[in-house]
Symmetry: C2
Subunit: 381 residues, 2 copies
């Protein structure tokens, strides 16, 4: 850290957000990502579940913050001018009356407050306090504000794309170092630690996500923490990371051959690479997320592979994953400026699989790679 | 990672939790911490906001999980036997009907489902899906389950205390290394990176929280990310960390003198150390959180210092911070087995302050230190 953005960047985001707010008189944001995106307020303090934080975005005019006083200095350094604080945590009234007052100022009695309620959202405040807020602002309605924040956030500015490109680049350098520490006989837990240290050394501010797995036929679990099991010759090791710099994530993986791997494993890796290459040519604004799933799934099948269930890629930005999801059901329309991951996964044998991931920004003419492209043949450690 | 716990440990936790459930027929848990605590399901995959995860704890009998299929293997490796999955994210029905069915099996039509709704809780699922769940399980009532989960979680088992002690020990070794990289002329961002790397080297699985600040009179913001500003002779540098090993956090800080510091700064550090020492003697089960606040605040005043507003310590365990909070309002009664931080903070001058933190487990006879005790005189880099 920490290079932020000029106020003009946030004013542009605000204008786009307000353009999506429809009949909502104000939008209540409570999540770290939403609040960072509109204010620039960046802190790891969210790791503490003790206190709620609120930002209100009016239909016209500038956003205001209603936050614990411990955040006054940091929020005061953002572009927000209306910052109200209380001494949290307060078991009697943890900001609710202060927030309700701010809502009543912005939303007429016959109006509506938007709160994100849809897929990929969660309200980061106690449910009982949400009910208290609802009563305190009655008869104002509360409506789903998911469309407003998601349509605005999903299109990244050039400044945001630059941030994500920078994070991808540093992760690429850390992956390049992996064959040096991912050697036969080393424990997966030691490899994870070295990989995180490499990400920090290459410029990550912090490492919010590292996952991976290893085995001779691929892996069957990509979310388990690393244990002491040792890498063995013939394993394929997958490392995946969501490192963070200036608040922006990368999210891509690499498969590394621990010595020569089984022919089937090498073949599946090539097939994953090929469908990614095809998607890098074929994606265009106007396609749906489901179209991208169909493109990659059919490509894998044509390449003799069985695609894994679940999504084959997703959005990316101020969180490790964002909507949309490349699944058969997601009808989100792709738009220029979306940052996305292409993440085809396919079975090898016996329930094991490989997954391969790259990060792109979608332009009018097609994808632009943000992650350094993996080689078609797995790198050998 | 990753050494877990034997099934007997979880059965003991379950028995304690069920003992606090009162009239609730089942308790719905959605947060990473609650789910890890009762199941042992540990993953960094929570970093992705895409999918909700559910665990249901019945009033009698074993818990069951209703989770995205990507977690089937990892949850299948825990002590839970009833693991139901769906292919998430699903925009049509993201686990709600599957969850509702499980609730209906456990909760009679006239019964009540508990959901944590109080201070320090948040529902980690889309609000619209929560409303759908509520309708799908009607006429069953939904009641606040905060007391059940918080009273059960706040008392740590010996096995949990051992985990936290281990994390504290590794952080202590990383702090010991800090004078080697926290030298005049180095940027705070570089110091933060080195500190995180040191924590990994000393055995952290990952580093969920690092904060800090530096200045000649202390600091006025302890939650901002590190910028490029360089350490200067005469600064006091504070580093604070919530490192994680086996899913358990430490949360303590150290103040490091970058060369000789101003006499007032050294005095305030001694005063903070002295009130901590006094608390290490005086705390007993049966005191309230407010009593501890009064003890430390009055001690600081007696030592010629003005205590900072906000809390002067809190709980600790499977999240960086847990209830209770050492504030004048928190009437939570301290119990043997609670793991707590003592975190007195006091002003130096001009709105700047110092904060000092240690981690303890409260025993029947008083506190037992979990963090290696800081020296009364600041370590000099």
């Amino acid at each position: 850290m920490a290079e932020g953005f000029p106020e003009a960047e946030f004013r542009d985001r605000l204008e786009r957000l307000q353009g999506h707010m429809g009949d909502l008189d104000a939008l209540l944001l409570t999540s770290p990502a939403d609040i960072f995106w509109i204010t620039g307020f960046l802190t790891r303090f969210w790791e503490s579940p003790a206190r709620p934080w609120f930002v209100l975005v009016p239909r016209a005019g500038d956003p205001g913050a209603v936050i614990p006083s411990i955040g006054a200095a940091l929020m005061g350094a953002t572009w927000l001018r209306d910052v109200r604080t209380w001494d949290a945590p307060d078991p009697d009234d943890d900001g609710v009356s202060l927030l309700a007052e701010a809502v009543r100022e912005l939303v007429p009695a016959s109006g509506a407050l938007g709160v994100p309620m849809g897929l990929e959202t969660a309200l980061r405040m106690p449910l009982a306090d949400y009910e208290r807020l609802r009563e305190a602002i009655a008869p104002r309605a509360i409506q789903d504000g998911t469309q407003a924040i998601q349509r605005a956030r999903e299109v990244k500015s050039d400044a945001e794309v630059d941030k994500i490109r920078g994070t991808c680049a540093l992760a690429g350098r850390a992956f390049d170092a992996a064959p040096g520490f991912a050697t036969p006989g080393r424990g997966l837990d030691a490899v994870f630690r070295d990989f995180q240290a490499a990400l920090l050394r290459e410029g990550a501010d912090w490492v919010s996500y590292v996952a991976g797995a290893a085995g001779p036929a691929g892996y069957d679990d990509v979310i388990a923490p690393a244990g002491p099991q040792k890498l063995a010759a013939g394993d394929v090791l997958m490392l995946d990371t969501g490192a963070v710099r200036d608040g922006y994530f990368c999210d891509f993986d690499r498969n590394i051959a621990i010595g020569p791997v089984a022919p089937r494993v090498a073949d599946v890796h090539r097939a994953l690479w090929d469908v990614t290459e095809n998607a890098l040519e074929a994606l265009r604004p106007g396609m749906t997320a489901a179209d991208v799933h169909a493109l990659m799934a059919s490509g894998l099948e044509a390449g003799g592979c069985t695609p894994c269930p679940g999504r084959l890629g997703h959005g990316l930005g101020v969180t490790l994953t964002e909507w949309p999801s490349f699944t058969p059901k997601d009808q989100t329309v792709l738009r220029a400026g979306m940052v996305l991951t292409l993440e085809p996964s396919a079975f090898t044998e016996g329930g094991h699989f490989l997954t391969h991931e790259e990060n792109i920004v979608l332009r009018a003419g097609g994808p632009e790679l943000l992650s350094p492209r993996a080689p078609r043949e797995m790198v050998q450690a």
